[in-house]
């Protein structure tokens, strides 16, 4: 390797270690991210052409603005961000590791000069050993038990608290890399898919988003029932709950039996999770009616599918023209169409909740709606993500790491006791905190005062 190459390499390394790069990358990430919130992401070309001219669309798609979070340049920025994190940590961690693992037990004069908090006391009439003992006891009581080292006639004390707090920032940095790793795991070995299952049927295939071929689950999912419930009172018509009863059949055995799956309560089987996402109706509903012939008093129950004409006592037919599970706040309702043997058809609404209501209409027949059974399909979101736990681990470390980095401080106190001319003893006291210096200053002043008092006593 030539000197020039080495220079280039050093320059390259310095570039990735620089904190300026961190700030610039973060600001660039923030600014470019805005694009994807203004331009819709991952739509079909025709959707964009409705909104933009062809030239604009071509520019947008060349710049990958239509799927920017997966574009080479955005991922590139994230890679620079990750490399910057790694480089910064590699550069700084060994020094911090040394500070924590091999603290300076025998401080030189020069070390005291670098400390923000120092104090010197001269004691008369006591030996070095006596002063050292008093100082040791005081530090142990007010701060932390010190390590005592002798150096010739000098005695040094060193005490520290929470040295590991210095690792908080590196844990935070590592956590971001862990989150990235989890996301990569998920995108390599996971998928997002969906499936619609009609009540009473089962399937073993789900459809990944944006792809033509289904994925085989390796087991069967059956939807036994789907239901929607609504709020009552003045909030009638607002959905309260969407619920699917799902069963899983694996190797011919029912391993999960009619487990209710609602929004915010998914079902997981063999690493694959099923989420209640949507629903719809399928086919015409089944309707059950009770009809009373006013003249004869004959009561008859009728049942059939919506749209199908049902025979009435005394001739003629009734047909359910339309129905709904929630008619305003009145619940299930059906619009009936009665066709007498001769004459025009008449149409009116009956409500399940008010079976006697139709009597007031005054027709030849009195109808009550007994039951309305709509057949539904449930729309399930299906996800497999083996990286999700890695992401949660990263998130937990991110929060823990940043709390430690911001709020905990590595505090150190050194004391050097040495004989001075004339039988006096000199005590030098110094301390530092790597965070929250003002609070440490107050604490240090207190230690200083107590030491003076005790040595004077």
């Amino acid at each position: 390797m030539s000197a020039k190459d080495r220079n280039l390499l050093t320059a390259f390394w310095d570039f990735f270690c620089s904190l300026k790069l961190t700030i610039v990358t973060l600001i660039l990430l923030a600014m470019t991210s805005i694009i994807g919130t203004v331009v819709q992401q991952g739509r079909a070309p025709q959707d964009y052409l409705k909104e933009y001219s062809e030239t604009t669309f071509r520019v947008l798609s060349t710049l990958k603005f239509t799927d920017m979070y997966h574009s080479w340049w955005f991922l590139g920025l994230l890679e620079i961000f990750a490399l910057n994190l790694i480089a910064c940590s590699i550069k700084r961690l060994p020094r911090v590791w040394k500070t924590v693992r091999e603290p300076v037990l025998v401080p030189a004069e020069s070390l005291y000069r670098t400390l923000a908090n120092t104090e010197e006391v001269v004691v008369k009439g006591q030996s070095v050993a006596q002063v050292a003992e008093t100082s040791r006891a005081l530090l142990g009581k007010t701060f932390a038990a010190p390590v005592v080292s002798a150096e010739g006639e000098k005695v040094h004390l060193f005490a520290q608290k929470m040295p590991w707090a210095r690792f908080g920032v590196y844990v935070t940095h590592l956590s971001i890399l862990i989150i990235f790793a989890g996301a990569i795991l998920g995108s390599l070995w996971g998928y997002k898919a969906y499936v619609n299952i009609v009540e009473g049927t089962a399937t073993n295939q789900v459809w990944p988003r944006g792809e033509e071929k289904p994925i085989d689950l390796g087991f069967q999912v059956r939807c036994d029932d789907f239901s929607v419930s609504f709020y009552g009172g003045e909030n009638a018509g607002r959905p309260k709950e969407f619920k699917s009863l799902l069963s899983i059949i694996d190797g011919g055995k029912t391993v999960v039996d009619q487990r209710p799956v609602i929004v915010n309560d998914p079902l997981t089987y063999k690493g694959i999770t099923f989420y209640q996402a949507s629903y719809g109706t399928t086919g015409e509903p089944n309707v059950r009616l009770r009809v009373t012939e006013r003249a004869s008093g004959v009561v008859k129950e009728l049942s059939g599918r919506q749209g199908q004409p049902l025979p009435l006592p005394g001739g003629g037919t009734v047909r359910v023209a339309d129905s709904t599970a929630a008619f305003q706040s009145f619940g299930p309702a059906a619009r009936l169409e009665v066709t007498p043997p001769s004459g025009a058809a008449r149409s009116f609404v009956v409500l399940q909740k008010f079976p006697e209501f139709d009597a007031q209409r005054g027709g030849a027949y009195i109808f009550s709606l007994l039951d309305l059974q709509q057949s539904y399909y449930t729309g399930l979101q299906v996800a497999k993500d083996p990286g999700v736990w890695v992401v949660w681990l990263g998130c937990a470390l991110l929060v823990l790491g940043s709390l430690v980095a911001f709020f905990l401080s590595h505090r150190r106190i050194w004391v050097t006791i040495q004989p001075l001319a004339g039988g006096k003893v000199g005590v030098k006291l110094g301390g530092s905190a790597h965070r929250n210096q003002p609070a440490f200053e107050i604490f240090f002043d207190e230690v200083k005062k107590q030491l003076r008092d005790e040595l004077a006593a």
Binding site: I23, Y231, G232, P239, E241, P266, S402, L403
Partner: protein, 286 residues
């Protein structure tokens, strides 16, 4: 009387407090500052009671509607104002710099006024997607974070005014209203402390949102505009935190980053709902 009326009283208390803080800056009367602060603290206590009351009221609505009052735009704005006062009180207890009130209480007052005058205050039932404990964790952590950023923004504005008038040197005393401002060094410190509180809370807010999304939809991150904007805010404050250790980025630039960060926060909170489309359409129903 119901909780809405108590919220009106809270709004009036914040308004009076804000006006008195401005009067304090003009007259330098310590008594005025104390009254302003008492109004702020009292207003916050009433605010706390009113939120609890609204919570109770939601359980009195027939039809199983009861839930923590954190679900629609009105409730979130009211809660946001509450968290701003909470962070203000914490900072006030620590630093006792009354001038800060004149720059922080207005945010809470604006929020309450907007909520009381323009937003739909009906107690509405939760749609299925919102029926989750994650809603509470997510909203509380996000808004505590937002509130810390609001305080940081107010303090940054003070910093820029102070440094601007004093010619950038920092600690040279200035006359007039500025004399009541904390020193530039202290303003910078409060700014940093507030963001130090806000950043882990924002991180937690994003994480609880991701956990909830994963639980409800099966994907913890989908680059939805709301998610993306919360990440943009996170990037800006991460840049701010690193700027403190970088020469040339401390002082004015850091203060500007804090103000831009709060502007992005507000856009994330309101702009995304009002301007862009996405998953968090709580504004739509109201």
């Amino acid at each position: 009387m119901d909780s809405t009326q108590l919220f009106n009283i809270v709004t009036i208390a914040y308004f009076s407090s804000m006006v008195l803080f401005v009067v304090y800056l003009a007259t330098r009367s310590k008594v005025v500052a104390t009254i302003a602060n008492v109004l702020a603290y009292g207003g916050w206590l009433a605010h706390t009671a009113a939120i609890g009351w609204r919570w109770y009221e939601s359980y009195q609505v027939p039809g199983g509607v009861g839930h923590a009052p954190l679900s629609n735009l009105y409730e979130s704005v009211v809660f946001f104002s509450w968290t701003i006062l909470l962070i203000y009180i914490l900072i006030d207890l620590k630093y006792r710099q009354r001038a800060v009130g004149a720059f922080v209480i207005p945010f809470a007052f604006l929020g309450m006024t907007w909520a009381q005058l323009n937003l739909n205050d009906a107690i509405e039932p939760l749609v299925p997607a919102l029926q989750s404990n994650w809603l509470t964790y997510h909203v509380i952590t996000c808004f505590l974070g937002y509130a810390a950023f609001a305080v940081a923004c107010g303090v940054s504005i003070m910093y820029l005014i102070k440094v601007g008038k004093e010619g950038g040197s920092g600690n040279a005393p200035a006359g007039g209203i500025l004399a009541l401002f904390p020193s530039a060094k202290m303003l910078d410190d409060i700014n940093y402390k507030a963001i130090m509180i806000g950043f882990p809370l924002l991180s937690l807010g994003i994480i609880t949102g991701a956990a909830w999304a994963n639980y409800a939809w099966g994907t913890y991150w989908s680059w939805d505009p709301k998610e993306t904007w919360s990440l943009i805010v996170w990037f800006i404050y991460a840049a701010f935190l690193h700027a403190r250790f970088t020469r040339g980025w401390v002082g004015k630039r850091a203060a500007w980053l804090s103000i831009i960060g709060f502007a992005a926060t507000i856009f994330c909170y309101l702009g995304v709902n009002l301007v862009l489309s996405g998953l968090h359409s709580y504004g739509g129903g109201g």
